[in-house]
Amino acid sequence: MLPLLLVLSLVELGSGLVLGSFEDELLRRPSLLVLVPVTIGTAGNLGSILAARLSTAVHLGTITFSPEDDTLVGNAVATAGLAVSVFPVVGLGAWGLTELTVGATLAPTRVVLVAACSGAVLAVLAIAVTLLTTYVAYRLGLDPDDVVIPVVTNTCDVLGVLVLFGVVLVLL
């Protein structure tokens, strides 16, 4: 357990360094700082929910890795739907709480836009990473429950920071 935890913490430090590189921007615009933990967490959770459902389906033998498989496609569609419906609310919540506490410097529409775009990009990435990791674990005969969830959660955490950074760079 410990060696895996140490490797994962190094991976997370990589995303920390990305955060550190736009620290000035984040300190100037606290709404974006408020978005950081919730974006990381939601991205990781989207991946881990999909991973847990696919792992169970693999164990039950009710899934095939084909683009026509109903379980596979249905769960991927649900993940995209969750991301698209939850992230705009996340953006609005982040702006509202910032305004109430330290005072927001960005317009609410900007924060919602940043969150919604990040969510849409993250949904695609979370689905791709989860399908790939589950497929590789399945092919190698590894128990997807042990391997897939930590790998997917931590990868999606890192992608959460990278995507947020990218979207801020493009939109603001």
């Binding site: 410990l2 430090l13 769960n75």
Partner: protein, 192 residues
């Protein structure tokens, strides 16, 4: 089942847990947004945030999964008895892992920032903040995970489905709050 039916069921089942973690994540964000002066006084602290939050999830999520498996297999009784060696062992292992990873992450962040030529607080400051935050949140998360899993199991809930949302929600909120508290404590003793 058709794709539509699968997608609808998956969406409905996942939304409550995701919603709970969103609320937790937003409150964690409010704490982070409110600790801008600490972030400026302890350069490198922001770099540690993702690693420390993820460690809480990884370590205490695994504690919850272990307890859930023990309960399912009948190796653990659903009563909080610290005399039980299996329970004590699982808790001790989780807290030890949590503290070791916290110290490791602080040291690695210090080294990486040094290599990149970026500003960082002193090594003892980063390690002390990380260790204190790891200790406070470790105790809180252990209490939360053990009580929710045991109480949930006694009430006939599947502990496996409780662990994820509990750990992500309390881990984010308490992880950030205790990081702020730890930074204030270390800064108030005059830094190291």
């Amino acid at each position: 089942m058709s794709i539509r039916a699968v997608a609808r069921e998956a969406y409905r089942e996942a939304l409550p847990a995701l919603g709970a973690s969103v609320v937790g994540g937003l409150f964690a964000g409010v704490v982070l947004g409110g600790m801008r002066s600490e972030l400026q006084q302890v350069p490198g602290l922001l770099v540690l945030v993702p690693a420390l939050l993820a460690t809480r999830g990884n370590v205490y999520g695994s504690l919850g999964a272990r307890l859930a498996t023990g309960l399912h297999q009948g190796l653990l009784e659903p009563s909080i008895d610290l005399g039980n060696e299996r329970l004590r062992g699982a808790i001790a292992a989780a807290i030890t892992n949590g503290l070791l990873v916290s110290v490791f992450a602080a040291t690695a962040a210090y080294v990486l920032l040094g290599l990149l030529g970026q500003a960082a607080a002193s090594l003892p400051t980063l390690v002390a903040v990380s260790l204190l935050a790891g200790l406070f949140s470790g105790i809180t998360l252990t209490v939360a995970v053990v009580s929710v899993v045991f109480v949930g199991f006694r009430r006939g809930q599947n502990p496996d489905t409780l662990v994820g949302p509990i750990v992500t929600t309390t881990g984010d909120v308490f992880g950030m709050a205790f990081l702020l508290l730890a930074a204030r404590i270390v800064l108030s003793v005059g830094g190291l």
